[in-house]
């Protein structure tokens, strides 16, 4: 599998919720792939959060609407009640706000905590959008476009 296909397949597995497949694919990762996969995930989260918080996530959007953020966090806390160990909700808030004008909030988080928080946000939002989950290629496509924009500083020609 080419590195590109590997990352596409890995993100697809995360979107469809096939965590075992994703874990198996990570065995094929080289050192640098973990960071690349984390960026793919962050891009997918940016795309999916725009349905909720408006356009421009990770692309210069202004501050998030804190009332809508509050609703999001309340939903997450209700969904995560009783989970052991307890989910890191503040990390989810940090990565969410980081995409909306407060990038410094994610800075102190390790890559692992950050990715876990991204995954929690993604899984939660996909549960509300069954179509996106059932058609992962859509989200994967837009996530990769988002990454290209991050890397080039502009959309692909």
């Amino acid at each position: 599998m080419t590195p590109e296909a590997l990352h596409r397949t890995h993100l697809t597995a995360l979107v469809t919720g096939e965590v075992d497949t994703a874990a198996r694919l990570r065995h094929q990762f080289q050192a640098k792939d973990h960071g690349i996969a984390a960026e793919h995930l962050r891009a997918a989260v940016a795309v999916v959060l725009e349905y909720r918080f408006g356009p421009g996530a990770g692309l210069g959007a202004g501050l998030i609407d804190y009332n809508r953020l509050g609703e999001f966090m309340t939903e997450l806390r209700q969904a995560g009640r009783g989970t052991v160990p307890p989910p890191d909700h503040l990390a989810v808030e940090a990565v969410t706000r980081a995409l909306y004008g407060e990038p410094h909030l994610a800075e102190p988080l390790s890559e692992q905590r950050r990715s876990q928080a991204h995954y929690s946000a993604l899984a939660h939002e996909l549960a509300r959008h069954p179509w996106l989950k059932a058609n992962p290629e859509h989200l994967v496509h837009y996530a990769r476009k988002r990454m290209t924009t991050w890397i080039l500083g502009r959309p692909e020609d």
């Binding site: 410094h104 909030l105 800075e107």
Partner: protein
Amino acid sequence: MDYTESTALFRAHAAARLTGDTTEAARLAAQISDEQRMSHLLFTLTLFTQFVVEELGYEPDPTDLAALTKRLHDKHFRPDRPFEALRAEAMIRAVTAESVLLTEIPHTEQAAYMWAVIDDLADPKLTEADLDELFDLVEEAREDLLGRALDSPELNSPKREPAAPVQTAPVQTEPVQTEPAQGDPDPATPAEEGTDA
């Protein structure tokens, strides 16, 4: 150390911190025993609440909070010093509108985040009279806070802890204890009740 002595130590420590006397603050911090940690954390929480409510109100504006959080991040975060500014912000929200957050920040980190906020909010030129007034308010607010923010009436009255050792003695004995039990206003009373039985 009884309740009054503990409170005096906590006040002295906080006064040293607020006036920037770091040597004295460190000396007093070393006197706070492991057994007093939780009590001290609650004292600090009340002091912190006082500053938050005074400076930011009961419903801080999220945009103002975001600016404060950025300021704290810039001031304290270093790659080798993982200061999570959002946890400092969450402490503020915990004592105003979102008490659930108090359960999501490790207790071992709470005091440090509260002090980071206090240092940002407090007037560096507090006089002794200001401090006395502040601490009196803190003590008044302590019970109220326990009831309201933690919503836990059982924790509400640290002053009325029963003098357990005396109560377990049903027969009349001279109360041998010379030290009053923690915070008990009158250690002799339970023993006198015992004589009626």
